[in-house]
Subunit: 184 residues, 2 copies
Amino acid sequence: MSRSTKKDALLQVAERLFYEHGFRGVGLKQIIREANVATMTLYNHFPSKNKLVEEVLKRREERYWSYLDSYIERGLSSPFVLAVEAHCRWLKEHSYKGDMFLRAIEDYAGIDEEIENIAREHKTRLLHYFQQLAQENRVNNPMDLANQLTLLLEGTTSMTTLIGADKAAEYSIAMAKVLFQHTS
Amino acid sequence: MSRSTKKDALLQVAERLFYEHGFRGVGLKQIIREANVATMTLYNHFPSKNKLVEEVLKRREERYWSYLDSYIERGLSSPFVLAVEAHCRWLKEHSYKGDMFLRAIEDYAGIDEEIENIAREHKTRLLHYFQQLAQENRVNNPMDLANQLTLLLEGTTSMTTLIGADKAAEYSIAMAKVLFQHTS
DNA sequence: TTAAAAATAGAAAGGTCGTTCTATATAGTT
DNA sequence: AACTATATAGAACGACCTTTCTATTTTTAA
């Protein structure tokens, strides 16, 4: 098994476990065991647990955006509603239990600045995405709509933990339509 | 210093620290030190750390509802908007950094059933509150509105972590009004 | 005032954590 | 075939965790 597959296995297992049980809830021992890797192989690729967390977050962000992009470019309805739908599908498939980035902010604020920044950047990117979309569509107050849609997505993520992805998506999309209808 | 004040000090300090750094991020040693209490005093009142977590959650829930009730009964505008405003004020004053109950669900799901249940009950109570409010006000689909408002509040809580309580409240209340206007 | 109850400091047990170290084995390249 | 880079298992480290124990002091109430 080549170097890169070992590293990939570590990142994949770490992401799953961190998401499932939280960053502090998972020890390196468990990651190592489930990735079928030796301790020093992990430390060969990542200088510390926190650096592993960083790379997990970066990878997850990439996957999130490529997921969103590929969903949106194939869609027919309003780009706002599409983005909300795409996010809901992401939740259903990969994020049924809260948001990893928000979790990272809460866990590492005041502890590891680098991790906190990576997580916060993911959120500002979401805000910028909606803002740009609003500008392109000549919405009156792009910043307002962007913030409201981001708030909507954050709420959907939390609701998924409480009532499941399907119902959360239903309410979320209904709200997005009302909101969009009201501003356009 | 009487028995009950020691217990209160422990609960108060524990709530602050758990909220600030997460349940796993705070050790009993720190709680004991900041509450000016001996180790055995803590174990005299709480049989374990998890039981302490339980009581902290119960106390926080009581405070949340009495805060909401006292805010709402003095209000003049629509009870839905009032509830959202009250929640926003609670966020600004006591919950600027994510939601403790959601956090408890994520941290203790599959680990401590009792804690998970207490946290989940808090959320279903919120849903029932809105549902009853919707029924009293003869809304067409009470369950739908209740879920949408709960989603809105959850989103506001997350947004508070990202952009601060004031701006989050602004967007949240604007959305609540649109939503309410649309259903009534 | 005296007896019971509660709180005290601090050590100790038993565990897990992240990280480092050692010494051996495996793979890939020339 | 030999050399270099990587991966291996597993021990060891010091720090921290929750929980228990001990022995002493303080508070409460009859």
